[in-house]
């Protein structure tokens, strides 16, 4: 496979009141053509900054970024023709109808007669009856669909989605993923940032995790899931947990979740709870999901 996106030692600094903030601290990674790639990380980790540099919206302090072999600074025109970006903010041009917006966006990319593809996009995104509606009159979910269509007018080989499902209802989320997964099957490379880890787990073949501007994990999703604590213990209790358990538990109201690597560790955990006299209800033992992996990696990185 050949390379779709390449980040090479990307550094981005911002001036802050006392000194400079390193938003990206030497990020290097490669995304192959045809991949469905996830970029995860807590708020402020640098995900959007990285995507902005890729799209040419922001300039890196140092390092190189290439899209389909084109440098995003030196060969920006070819790089931008190769990429379609769905921005995180719900922005729109209030002067125009949906179809006008899509025609204008096509024109920017040099495409004069693009109505067949625009019709296909409108149909694929459930906007077929919205073509002549002014952008101002659309609901938030509909505006989000138009953002996706605008990013795809020039049929870019690389599609970048920055938190596309934030605040989006379940129906639209399903429809959107169906559509994007279809494009991925046709060979488009997809780069996704999301806060919904179950989405990333379901869709992404590979995942990079960013923290404080650095890549702290980069692997196949399956390997990430296998390589860390694989078992999840969940129970309800009204009692205080012993400190050695509380330190590693995720507690939401009465529910406590603790990860373990194997059966022996599960037994040890239950032993600790019994000795402390903690009465537990609704005990469940299951496989750890990406959220657990994510939290474990983020915690580990804090300690180290």
């Amino acid at each position: 496979m050949s390379v779709a996106v390449e980040f090479e030692e990307v550094v981005k600094t911002y001036a802050v009141p006392r000194g400079t903030l390193r938003a990206l601290d030497g990020v290097s990674m490669t995304i192959e053509q045809g991949e469905f790639f996830g970029l995860l990380g807590p708020n402020g980790a640098g995900k959007t900054t990285l995507i902005s540099i890729l799209a040419g919206l922001t300039r890196a302090a140092s390092g190189r970024v290439r899209v389909m072999g084109h440098d995003v600074v030196d060969d920006y025109a070819a790089a931008r023709r190769s990429i379609g970006v769905v921005p995180q903010e719900l922005v729109f041009d209030p002067f125009f109808t949906v179809r006008e917006c899509l025609r204008i966006q096509s024109g920017y990319f040099g495409l004069r007669r693009n109505d067949n593809w625009i019709d296909a996009l409108l149909a694929g995104l459930g906007l077929a009856d919205k073509g002549d509606v002014n952008m101002r009159q659309l609901s938030g979910g509909m505006k989000r669909r138009v953002l996706v269509a605008q990013a795809l007018v020039h049929r870019p080989p690389v599609i970048v989605l920055d938190e596309p499902t934030a605040g989006v209802d379940v129906e639209l989320r399903q429809a959107l993923w169906g559509f994007i997964a279809g494009l991925n099957k046709q060979g488009h490379t997809v780069l996704l940032t999301t806060h919904y880890l179950e989405e990333a787990e379901a869709l992404c073949g590979r995942i990079a995790m960013l923290k404080q501007g650095r890549v702290v994990a980069l692997d196949r999703t399956a390997n990430l899931l296998a390589g860390t604590a694989s078992t999840m213990l969940q129970f309800k209790t009204d009692d205080a947990l012993p400190p050695e358990v509380a330190a590693r538990a995720r507690i939401t109201g009465r529910i406590a979740q603790v990860t373990a690597h194997d059966a022996a560790e599960v037994e040890a955990l239950l032993g600790q709870l019994r000795r402390a006299g903690v009465r537990i209800e609704d005990l469940e033992i299951g496989r750890a999901d990406l959220e657990d992996v994510f939290l474990e990696i983020m915690q580990r990185e804090t300690v180290s």
Partner: protein, 254 residues
Amino acid sequence: MIRLEGARTLFAKEILRFWKVSVQTVAAPVLTAMLYLLIFGHVLEDHVQVFPGVRYTSFLIPGLVMMSVLQNAYANSSSSLIQSKVTGNLVFLLVTPLSHWAWFAAYVGASVVRGLAVGAGVLAVTVWFAPPHLEEPGWIIVFALLGAGMLGTLGLIAGLWAEKFDQTAAFQNFIIMPMTFLSGVFYSVHSLPPFWQAVSHLNPFFYMIDGFRRGFFGASDVSPWLSLAVVGGSFLAVSALALRLLARGYKLRT
């Protein structure tokens, strides 16, 4: 070809943008200019004569036309850019392969169109008050185009620099408006004391209006060739600055 089509699209979009709200962007400034003409023309008609044999109302019309051209050319590029920046939809343009030349040509071109549309509107309604003289029409076209181009470019620069609406408005109210009003829209600078005449000659807007008026009356305060040199030179200078800012992505690609 792709770049030409991209620039053409942005140019057409910018025209469509103001045309969709033409009551505000074209009709309103025409009405404003007509009010100026009614009031100043009525009050000063019998008191002021600038050129021999030219009524004050006739003298005033070219100045009002040019003032409308300049203010609307400025308003078009500056308001479009700041609106796109504040609402965030400038991102649709930033992700495209359009070059800085394309941005410049499209924004300034659309500003020229709006400026000329308003100017033509003002001229059309003022014909009823005083039939226009058209002594040297070539100068009318040259100075209308250059003046609109220059103000469209200044609007582009202001739009790039500003982060809020009130900043483009401040640029308009504290720089563009005073320079326009002090350029001889309502009077000939020859009627000023020598000191203020000299000051007026430092204002490039004076040469735009004087050269433009030359086309109507065949008479002007300074040679139209001098005006052409000053206005042309100023246009080239602000264009070079605007192109440099666009190429650097000044306040666009941080």
